[in-house]
Symmetry: C2
Subunit: 435 residues, 2 copies
């Protein structure tokens, strides 16, 4: 059940891809040594999260301690790298319409400071929950000082404790060991999970950041990690390395001026996976300077499209407009074949050839039609074939893309692990907040 990368239609020669790839081989050796070392001292430390038994044990212990059969809602207070990976996996597996929230815990994501969102979430929870055991709040902030996240946990804690009494033992904080929040939570007797210092937000999904809320919600986190590890092997190997190939293709197109990267998923439940990748690529490639301090204004703008929805929204631009995009299709062939258009129709003879057909077949025809059109129009694309959407394949995908981004950083000669320009607005915000 391995996901595979197809580069047949990238419109770049194999020789060129091979030549570009050669530049990264030494760096891959470095990544291998990071994994062999197993620690958290290097920028690439995130590679070690999925195999870290200590993290798994800490998370399992915490889930045992906090998640009883009474649990109904898990609220993740986090923003950016602190929730995008968790949300990606959760929605890929559970979907966005969850009809089973009465029988399994439902995860709610509270990210920005929105009065509307906060009122709705507080109202929903006050209506659905009366016993603290029914709720679990995971506060996720690596630095420990994210204004939105701290504002939201304070406000939610106030609303819920007014409603049903003290809930501090229903809060779990995930943060850097040694952050101010780590200490403050300790002082308040609130349980904590550590995020390794060198594991940045956008690379943190396999740390406690993703593991804890997903395991508490009953997802198969072991399969996620297994997928990550199997893919890590592939992405650290010298042949059939999808991360290296994908990075090389992206770089080749960047060299000829293609600066928009379109992740085009054909399963709507993968939209948040696309948004996770959007952060990964945006923050990792968008740099004012090279590694050597030369001002370059590097960066590739990631966009996310959802098929077939966006065929009715963006296809006209993609086919008719400027040829400034490299597209990566992501498609799981949707194995459940029991969903089909009935054979007796309300409106017979309206749309040809759908009667009695499974959704799987209809979507395969739409996806196939789109690929054919790309080919006829000489538009480059890669294709990621995800045989099925499950924890194991999503774990693979996320690890694949994190490795790809490290290699792309190498090729672009930028640091994919930092985000210095974010300070541009943060310092201005602090001034305004204090006035």
């Amino acid at each position: 059940m391995n996901i595979s990368l197809n580069t047949e239609h990238v419109l770049i020669s194999d020789e060129r891809i091979e030549k570009i790839s050669a530049f990264v081989r030494e760096y891959i050796n470095h990544c291998v040594s990071v994994v062999d070392g197993g620690g958290y001292d290097e920028d690439e430390a995130s590679l070690n999260c999925a195999s870290d038994m200590r993290i798994q044990q800490d998370v399992a212990d915490m889930v045992n301690k906090k998640a009883s059969s009474k649990l109904r809602y898990i609220v993740v207070c986090g923003i950016g790298g602190s929730n995008l990976g968790t949300k990606a996996i959760y929605e890929a597996i559970i979907g966005t319409v969850d009809p089973y929230s009465a029988v399994r815990p439902k995860v709610l994501f509270v990210d920005t400071v929105s009065a509307h969102l906060m009122m709705d979430v507080a109202e929903l929870l006050k209506d659905a929950v009366s016993d603290p055991e029914q709720i679990l709040i995971n506060v996720v902030t690596k630095s420990g000082g994210t204004a939105e996240t701290i504002s939201n946990i304070e406000t939610l804690n106030h609303a819920l404790s007014t409603h049903m009494g003290d809930i501090t033992d229903r809060i779990v904080v995930s943060t850097n060991e040694g952050s101010k929040l780590w200490d403050a939570a300790g002082d308040a007797g609130i349980d904590r999970l550590a995020i390794p210092e060198k594991v940045g937000g956008r690379f943190s999904v396999f740390s406690a950041v993703g593991q804890f809320p997903l395991r508490a919600a009953g997802l198969d986190v072991d399969a996620v990690l297994k997928g990550a590890l199997d893919m890590r092997d592939r992405c650290l190997s010298s042949s059939d390395n999808p991360a290296l190939t994908s990075a090389a293709v992206t770089f080749a197109h960047r060299e000829i001026g293609i600066r928009i990267n379109n992740t085009f998923v054909f399963n709507p439940e993968l939209e948040s996976v696309g948004k996770w990748y959007r952060q990964l690529m945006g923050e990792s490639t968008g740099k004012r300077e090279t590694r050597d301090g030369v001002e370059v204004r590097e960066g590739i703008t990631p966009i996310v499209s959802v098929g077939s929805t966006d065929l009715h929204s963006m296809a006209q631009l993609y086919f008719g407009g400027p040829q400034d995009k490299l597209t990566t299709f992501v498609y799981a062939k949707q194995l459940p074949t029991q969903v089909k258009v009935p054979s007796e129709l309300l409106f017979p003879n309206l749309v040809k050839d759908i009667q009695g057909k499974s959704y799987k077949k209809i979507m395969a025809a739409i996806f196939g039609g789109v690929k054919k059109a790309y080919e006829k129009n000489d538009q480059p694309y890669m294709e990621i074939d995800m045989p099925e959407i499950n924890e194991y394949t999503i774990g693979q995908y996320l690890q694949f893309k994190m490795c790809e981004m490290m290699y792309l950083g190498k090729l672009l000669n930028v640091n994919p692990f930092n985000q210095p320009s974010v300070e541009d607005y943060k310092s201005e915000t602090r001034v305004l907040l204090s006035s």
Copy 2:
């Protein structure tokens, strides 16, 4: 309560904007004549939807006939222009977490053919609904032959009628008078609402397409239409015309090579408003040929960012990366001031200056910080100030943007009303579907 456009920081001179605007004046006179005529013969016919009393009457009659106090779920089966405007207004007002679904009808959107989505929606409805009166399905397809939409209504109809008996009188079809679906629905005794032939999907929100499901859900559609009409007056006038100014600014940046347009909303409930605009701009500007048949590959790629969420995802690219974007901030100052960080904190002294502050003030500081950073970095932006998010202001916004797109089409010398390149994949799909 008028929304306003601020162009102080667009980095284009007033003279240039004025000069560009002058090219559109004659076309605006044409639009005025379309409105004066009041009919549906011209490409700009959508301008007449909000003032069409016949549409309002038809919709009101249909709502009276179909929506009793028992109504709990409205399912909109439509894709692209058939649901994006409805979803934009619905989510702007109701939000994405709706804690009140027990006391007011909830709208579900079913767009693409997804086995996962269809199973979840069918499961949710079968669990929540036992009497046909509790549900209403609005099938929206202008052409009447959209494969996804017809597949979904057939499948949903089958699932629900198996569950609770015949539901055909709980279906309302919105389509072109004269489409095959119009006739088929008539033959099956299913109620219908007409979409005027010349009103294209992305311009159709003020027709029955948006009016019917939103009015059935209890939204104040009269206020939406009032907002549209008040804005129409402004956008057809010769001074203080936000649509003309915004189109001119966008064109001026397009001329100097800026081909990414970033709608950056600072209220998360406006994300779907952004996605509606994404279709509007993508389909209207992305053209292989000019009006005169010259191949140009015109087009501006619209992207949507959500503040403050995407500051933790895309800000590094926006501030550090290539300067290839024109940004339009959209911000409603979030009047509910009762949502605030408590004055007694769980984690005191962790984040400075949030204690006791309203969400409104915190978000204003973040938004202000972002604008300051754009200014310091010489990055161009427009600002749309939406005093409050309500039906009236959203109606204004949508009309503003539809007029802007007509004027931008004029400036780019492309036809903003067609989408010929969509055929590229549709014909290929039909071949695959029949095999």
